[in-house]
């Protein structure tokens, strides 16, 4: 690829581009450092937890560690698509996105190290559904962007990455962490990290929603590509959650289990279903626009991407 011109020589950045606004927001709100989180109380709590309580949270840790690593490694083709297509503001936002994902990976790895879990292989907690999404569908959809940056391919990549992995699974995971640990008043350090992740993820979701809406308005006004693909992925997304809750329920059904940790499995599944419905609704709102300029104007008008 060669450059034919430079936007910032011929003019300046588009300060009103939705993803420039998001970039500003990321610079302002994404300043946290995983290394600054104090895990002292987490260590005390973790040492005092029973083995059964430790194994209750292990599947969540196993899901997030691999999940954050996967999204860190797999985002690169999306950045290259935006760069190749000359979307400078989108590319600038994605530099913060990549940095966020790297910090999320660091957070869990640090926590595992501090709790003495550094050498423990937790991959047995990855169910078949989890593997289909994180080991197969996600990298396949992202890798495809290296040779195909058609609207179809980008919509599908953003659907699995932003809407399913981040918008359904990560959001439900945060909810589970809070449900289990806040009630038990345990592990404040990792909970603080989860709050930061959640805030970062909000911006990532906005990227995904906007990108899918923008491309659908231009190339797929019925939004079928998005709707069909998220529906195709949904059984495995729910399968991930059902597996996690089934392990909890199974553990609690054993008469030897010593655990005061509580998780309402049905509530967690309902939460995931709600996330699925919300993501569909958010993206499909874009179908009311005829042109991308209308979508952009609406976003600016509603101040949904204000930098503060």
């Amino acid at each position: 690829m060669t450059h034919q011109h430079f936007q910032t020589v011929e003019g300046v950045l588009n300060w009103n581009a939705p993803l420039y606004r998001l970039y500003e927001k990321a610079k302002q709100n994404g300043k946290w450092n995983p290394r600054d989180i104090d895990f002292t109380q987490d260590k005390i709590d973790y040492e005092n937890m029973t083995e059964d309580e430790k194994i209750t949270i292990a599947p969540l840790i196993a899901s997030f560690s691999a999940g954050e690593e996967a999204v860190t490694l797999d985002i690169l083709p999306m950045v290259q698509v935006m760069a190749r297509q000359g979307r400078l503001e989108d590319t600038m936002f994605l530099t913060t996105f990549m940095f966020d994902q790297a910090k999320h990976t660091e957070l869990f790895s640090r926590w595992q190290e501090e709790m003495g879990l550094g050498d423990l292989d937790l991959s047995a907690f990855h169910s078949d559904s989890y593997k289909r999404i994180f080991y197969e569908k996600l990298p396949e959809a992202m890798e495809r962007l290296n040779r195909d940056d058609s609207p179809n391919a980008v919509i599908k990549a953003a659907t699995v990455y932003n809407m399913v992995v981040e918008g359904i699974l990560a959001e439900t995971g945060y909810y589970s962490f809070r449900e289990i640990l806040k009630k038990a008043n345990l592990l404040p350090g990792i909970l603080q990290g989860i709050d930061y992740l959640n805030q970062d993820e909000g911006r990532h979701l906005q990227f995904g929603i906007y990108t899918i809406q923008r491309l659908s308005i231009e190339h797929d006004p019925s939004f079928n590509i998005f709707n069909d693909f998220i529906d195709e992925l949904w059984p495995d997304a729910l399968g991930v959650i059902e597996y996690l809750t089934s392990l909890y329920d199974l553990q609690m059904a054993q008469d030897w289990t010593e655990s005061k940790l509580q998780l309402d499995s049905e509530k967690m599944k309902q939460y995931a279903i709600r996330q699925y419905e919300i993501r569909k609704k958010q993206v499909n709102r874009g179908s009311s626009y005829q042109r991308v300029s209308e979508l952009n104007e609406s976003m600016i008008r509603n101040n949904s991407l204000r930098s503060s």
Partner: protein
């Protein structure tokens, strides 16, 4: 008085086999193929099979495993004796699990149900 001779791993599994066949009802709800890859002087493999043909412990790989548990022979003996539980073994890295984690969780219930 003669010196206590530790049973071989083969004898331990014969004991498990006898116990579960004597009281098969205790394995109801724990159906599956539990495979044990045990590391001692050499690596040996046994399976605890709980299916419609009744529970049994066998040497080698007779069926596809639903869950594979990998550990040292000594730690396996402790599991059977009840001085080490599978959850603690897993969380301390003494037990590695591949496959169905739910079945692995049930292993302790199976072991607890018998006096070996």
């Amino acid at each position: 008085m003669g010196e206590f001779v530790k049973p071989t791993i083969g004898e331990v599994f014969q004991m498990i086999d006898a116990a579960i066949k004597h009281e098969p009802e205790k394995t109801t709800g724990k159906e599956g193929v539990y495979q044990f890859n045990l590391q001692g002087d050499t690596e040996v493999t046994y399976q605890l099979i709980i299916d419609e043909e009744g529970p049994r412990a066998v040497e080698g790989k007779k069926k596809d495993a639903d869950v594979t548990l990998i550990m040292k022979e000594d730690n396996f003996r402790k599991l059977v004796e009840g001085t080490l539980n599978p959850t603690a073994a897993f969380m301390s890295g003494k037990l590695k699990v591949k496959g169905n984690m739910g079945l692995a969780l049930k292993l302790q219930t199976v072991l607890n149900a018998f006096e070996f």
